[in-house]
């Protein structure tokens, strides 16, 4: 029998990810063995420490060990510049999201109790809480970390599932409007399972073409394999469906508003920031590393998708009356803006600029969006969060501080100068112009303008209309929520006024592009 050489695994390079997974496993043990009243107080430090530790390990990797130049774990995982940057971003975003999750009253007391039943009431009176949330979040974050770093379609699929399955569950755990929440979870699960199947099918096709699932092997096979183009085209399309679903690009955006609306708001924040970042990391890897030399074939389709995403996101957002749905459509539009960067490939120099722009955009959009959702959690009425836009009327008169910060976040989404969103858009769009996709950028600018209209509409609503008599109350934020808002606002200001250091960092991260 042929000999099998024991593989090598670079544990050091994978440490940020392993730490998160290890903490998640520990969290499951806590769930299993710690008494109920202790669980929360063990979970919170554990979860936060894991995320901080992961961030610190990324820094150590960057500044002490140096950015690796070859993939780890037998070519299955690539820990390169973009990966490390995105790992840092995901760890930071997850950290602030966990601060939000930690807030009381967002999660159901007992997920297994039927909504509205006596069981549910008993569980609430007994003060139960579904503390499985914390390990689930850690698993999801671990999946995100692996998703951006996977250099192999099989690993990518595993990461996709590890990332998605906890999120499906978490979506169904909202404390209020539980039926909506469960509906969101089921929708997300069914559609997500479909998209995973598409991804898997595409993987099989590409494997049939290239004889390997390694991204660099697929790239190497592109010029060498002849006569199998239908397989490759089909496989690319199906892989694209799977990945575009995760970033919520049109025409696969339908899940986003429903899920964002139904899910507990802190989880929405995590999905809107972390998942988007991770999914773009994976999308870039598949389309740039594996299919980079196939771009003449996928680019036209991606053009259409990007235009459709931007336009659909911006126009449909106008018709929304729920704040979370509106933010969801805004997230779809932003995914479209980011896609223009993905399309703007060219020479190495051009790729570098586009990649750096995307990285920067992901960072600023992620932070701002977490901040915006943090504010959504604070505006409440009797039934929980006051989601309907009409309830937000006149909010600026009653709590000007909160409304002001929210208005600022919205302006950042719109990309007004002096906010971080401006530089994000600028970086991506300028790279896109240089990459010769001017028409796309024009569409992007137009839809930004449309989007700006509905952001400004909310601001007008908050500041220039009369407050409703029985308007929602603004709860005094807990320390966690307050610090999330503060951090997000500060980041949005600082990156909007003084973005150079972060842009430089993104440039450096992108300088060597992806390792193969």
């Amino acid at each position: 029998m042929n000999d099998i050489a024991a593989p090598t695994i670079e544990y050091g390079q994978l440490a940020p990810m392993l730490l998160v997974f290890g903490a998640a496993v520990l969290g499951v043990l806590v769930e299993a063995f710690a008494p109920r009243y202790l669980r929360r107080s063990i979970h919170i430090p554990l979860t936060l420490a894991a995320l901080v530790g992961s961030f610190a390990l990324v820094l150590v990797q960057v500044f002490v060990s140096g950015v690796p130049t070859s993939p780890a774990a037998m070519g299955a995982v690539a820990v390169d510049g973009p990966t490390l940057f995105l790992w840092g971003v995901i760890a930071a975003l997850a950290f602030v999201s966990v601060l939000l999750i930690n807030d009381e009253d967002n999660f159901v007391a007992q997920a297994a109790a039927v909504p509205g039943s006596a069981d549910e009431e008993d569980a609430e009176i007994a003060g139960f809480s579904q503390t499985e949330v914390y390990p689930l979040v850690l698993f999801a974050v671990g999946g995100m970390l692996l998703f951006t770093a996977s250099n192999d379609l099989l690993i990518m699929f595993v990461a996709l599932e590890v990332m998605s399955l906890p999120l499906y569950l978490l979506c169904g755990l909202a404390r209020r409007r539980r039926l909506l929440s469960q509906e969101a979870a089921v929708k997300y699960f069914l559609l997500g399972a479909f998209s995973s199947a598409f991804f898997l099918f595409g993987m099989a096709m590409v494997y049939g073409f290239a004889g390997s699932v390694g991204l660099s092997d697929i790239n190497a096979a592109l010029p060498n394999v002849g006569g199998q183009e239908p397989l490759l085209v089909l496989g690319t399309a199906l892989l694209g469906v799977g990945l575009l679903f995760k970033i919520g690009a049109a025409p696969f955006q339908a899940w986003k508003p429903d899920v964002y609306q139904g899910a507990p708001t802190p989880i929405t924040a995590l999905m809107a920031s972390g998942t988007l970042v991770a999914a773009f990391g994976a999308l870039l890897r598949v389309f740039w590393v594996a299919l980079g030399n196939f771009d003449w074939d996928w680019r036209p389709v991606m053009w259409g998708v990007a235009i459709l995403t931007m336009v659909a996101g911006a126009i449909l957002a106008i018709t929304q009356t729920d704040i979370k749905r509106m933010l969801a459509y805004s997230s779809i539009a932003h995914a479209g803006f980011l896609l223009t960067g993905v399309i703007a490939t060219g020479a190495a120099e051009q790729n570098r600029d586009a990649l750096s722009g995307i990285l920067f955009y992901l960072l600023v959009y992620g932070i701002t969006t977490v901040g915006a959702f943090a504010i959504v959690t604070m505006v409440r009425d009797a039934g929980g969060e006051a989601g309907h836009l009409s309830r937000w009327a006149g909010l600026g008169k009653r709590s000007p501080m909160l409304a002001g910060v929210f208005a600022f976040f919205l302006l950042a989404f719109a990309g007004i100068p002096l906010t971080s969103g401006f530089f994000g858009k600028y970086a991506v769009f300028s790279a896109a112009v240089a990459g010769g996709v001017l028409p796309l950028v024009l569409v992007g600018v137009v839809s930004s303008a449309i989007a700006a209209f509905f952001y400004v509409r909310v601001i007008v609503l908050m500041f220039f209309s009369d407050p409703a008599a029985d308007g929602p109350t603004v709860v005094g934020p807990s320390v966690g929520t307050a610090s999330v808002v503060a951090v997000a606002a500060a980041a949005t200001v600082v990156l909007g006024v003084f973005p150079e250091p972060m842009l430089d960092l993104a440039d450096k991260a992108a300088s060597a592009l992806f390792v193969r």
């Binding site: 000999d3 099998i4 024991a6 496993v25 499951v28 043990l29 769930e31 299993a32 063995f33």
Partner: protein, 119 residues
Amino acid sequence: MELYVPILVLAVLAAGFAIFSVSIAPFTGPKRWNRAKLDAYECGIDPTPQPVGGGRFPLKYMITAMLFIVFDIEIIFLYPWAVAFDKLGLFGLVEMVLFIVTVLVAYAYVWRRKGLDWD
């Protein structure tokens, strides 16, 4: 592929025998119609109406099925590992210990949440 041909031969033989047996069963025996005989057997009482599609099953069967899948996958990892153990050496041992520990954590969780109890 030649290794599988004999299995096919035996399969044809066994399937032929089984189908033949169940097919001739109605012809070898007598036929005496009796209403009660054709009812579902419930110790003599009138049969419980059964919902179309089999109705609902207790959830615990599903939990058992899911746990079975988890452990079956573990076994699928264990078999090639066992066969190649001497070649993988220490690496194989360390990785498998980590893997089994991870599965055992989930197992402990299920156990503590009474997923293994059959009331």
